[in-house]
């Protein structure tokens, strides 16, 4: 049998205020690089990366980077529906960006319905917060907010790369977990989750077949 390049494809979306560091986060995650200056995102941008979850299952992440500026809200909205997870990004050194997180979350929830998306609260610019003491959002506060809303929380730095991998891994693992518990299913007409098997019409079959095989090897 031909080994598929990936077992699943998850579509994730990054949202948050302008200049919090969404693009930089993605750039580090997909490229391993950090750019001092990055262009403002116009509309949406697109990245992809393959990662493995704990049991060796390969997942292709399709990552949608959105423009934070209010003006693009109408464009970015249409990208919510086909996402299975959303990274709510704020800037640790910018209080306002954290205060807007509930708004972003509500908006995402509303548009991803009826699906229940996996959220992760991601603080950016940790290096800046640590090196020059410019932190405006405390770790405890963000944690508390995350717990209250049942989100994962992680503080990252796209400059040093701290926790960047974790942020995406957390979401991926969670989505994968929900597939295994049966909460998420591959659906026609929804691009949040797709399988990598290219057998026409055999989606369900693949799902059933693939999973027991995985569980036996672990």
């Amino acid at each position: 049998m031909v080994e598929p390049i990936f077992d699943y494809q998850f579509r994730l979306i990054l949202i948050g205020d302008s200049t919090v560091g969404k693009s930089s986060l993605l750039k580090y995650f997909t490229d391993g690089k950090f750019a001092e200056l990055s262009d403002p995102t116009v509309g949406v941008d697109f990245f992809a990366r393959l990662i493995e979850v704990k049991d060796g299952c390969r997942i292709k992440l399709q990552l949608w980077d959105t423009a934070g500026q209010e003006r693009f809200r109408s464009i970015t909205k249409s990208y919510y529906r086909n996402s299975v997870g959303a990274l709510l990004v704020y800037d640790i050194c910018n209080r306002a960006s954290f205060e807007h997180i509930p708004l972003w979350m509500m908006e995402a929830k509303r548009h991803i319905e009826p699906h229940r998306p996996v959220f992760a609260l991601v603080g950016c610019k940790l290096d800046l917060a640590n090196s020059s003491n410019r932190r405006e959002v405390s770790l405890e506060e963000a944690r508390a907010f995350a717990e209250q809303n049942g989100l994962h929380h992680v503080e990252t730095s796209a400059k040093s790369g701290v926790n960047v991998e974790d942020a995406f891994r957390l979401v991926t693992q969670e989505v994968y977990g929900r597939i295994q518990t049966g909460e998420y299913k591959v659906e026609d007409g929804w691009d949040g989750i797709k399988t990598g098997f290219q057998r026409p019409g055999g989606l369900d079959f693949n799902l059933i077949e693939a999973e027991p095989a995985k569980s036996t090897c672990c």
Binding site: S18, L37, P40, V42, A67, Q69, R71, F72, S74, S132
Partner: protein
Amino acid sequence: MLRGIGGSSGNLRIPALPQGDVLQEPVESVNQADLASQSSVSEVPPSVNAQEGSVETPKIKPDTKTTITESTTSKQQSSTEEPMKNGTAYSASDLKKENVDHNRTMVFEVGRTLLRLISPDKKQILLEKHLKDVASCIQGVKNSEHFGFICREPNVDSYIGYVFKCENESFVDDVVNAISQAFRTTSELQRREQRAVSSCDHCPMQWYQRLCYAIEGLNDKQAQFLIFRRLEGLPEEDQEMLMAKFSSVDTTSVREQNMFLMMLLREAQSSTSNVESAENSDDTREEMRPRSSTVGTSNGETIKREMSLVVPKTRPMMNIFYKVGNTPKTPTVGTNQDPHLSGSWRQAIFNRVVSPNTSMAGRGCSPNMEPTKREKSELRALWRKAINQQVLLIRMEKQNAILKARQEEATMKRIKLEYDEIGACVREVMEVWELLVSKESRMSSKCDPQMLLQAIRQGVPRSKRGEVWQFLAEQFCYRQPPFDTTNFPNYHVPYADLLRRLTSHQHSILIDLGRTFPNHAYFSSPLGPGQLALFNLLKAYSLLDPEVGYCQGLSFIAGVLLLHLSVTTTPTLDSLELTGAPFKHPGSSTTTTTTTSPFHHALGYWS
């Protein structure tokens, strides 16, 4: 009156102020710790008619690029010119605003170590102050749209209060918040640094000592491991140097290697130690002064600053004299070498002409020094000569300035066009375009579309692009029905007037300035001429087209336009029309793409 003094002040930029916009009031002995004085400052009536707009930087970011990104402007539309009540030693009349017309929209940048007042119009920095020199900052109590700060002048041994009037209270709030946040950050860093100094943590010999203690009693392998670990904490150059020396040793014994390493370290550290201890004493000395931290400066700079504080103590009085624009009560020392010369500037000119090299003593205030009385006619002739020469001098200076400006313009034009092209176009195309763009073809309103298309497909040489785009925009307009201006209330407002207004998009615009072609020389310097020009253009556009306002991505289009066209040479709506007209396509509705599409066409053709 303030203008002529530009060169005389060391690091103060005030003399370059247009028409003495910022009034300065020397405040005597204001101490940061002295809370009473702070409150008294706040009560100072806004008599000081400084004005400008304010602006704020909600976030304080590292100096490099960020500062720009997060500031906003405001401007004040009408400023009152009340006379000084708290009259210290000068009258306000000297500082009257000469030109009521000029644009008062200013950008006030609060950086991590600097406060800057920038005029986006003139693309000048009007005021630059180090945060460490600022003693206090406060909002007006009775006049809450004012704020002020008191600043130690490094050259003058005194403090000066700067008072600004903003358009409204909220700007003041923002500014004061930003400044106090900057204070906190600075003092935090300062405290950290002090702690470091007191425990002498960064003293290299101390470091060495601790390493010695640490490796005592360890076996050779462990000791070496520890030494290497500690080595990693040293500056990179030191590491490299040590490792280079270390690698030259050929011994296999770990113990010997360790000994050699420690010897190298001792050498290296004790050599730097002397320097640093000297600097430490500088630091402590400086800490005695209010708000003069050593924050953010490398050790080398500390010394330099110290020097600049101590050495030129004599000159500074002159600055304040000039700035205030009044005669000093006390004779000043320094640049003005003749203490007797207390006459007017006229006399100074006269003296310079009459006796260029001889001592000027004796004129004016000490008439008994005058050797011979001159005839009236002789004096008159001398005066005439003096005036003539002065006039000539001024004329020549003007010519020089024009020449210099022209050169700068040429270099700027060259810099602007320095970018990579995907494909160069052939020489002959240049001629085709020259023909097309030439006056005759412009006069005959419409140009043959086929010919135009043909030319566009061959490309536009970069030096012609500005002109050609302007031409294409005109052509586009000919083909369109007359533009409906109902949705554009500001359509007929001149560019210069638009710049005087405020836009609600300023924050978004400023955020993106640093992210627009950051690698291009013209746009690379934070709040430099390029970025300010971009800011102006985007601001004007956001006012012109309220429906679109500012939208991310527009900055790139505006940036490209600025590289090829100049706003200053056509101060009328022309240049804006070029950018504006194509955007203002009747179909321009909500989304970005449609809004700019006609212009995209123009750009698209040549690329």
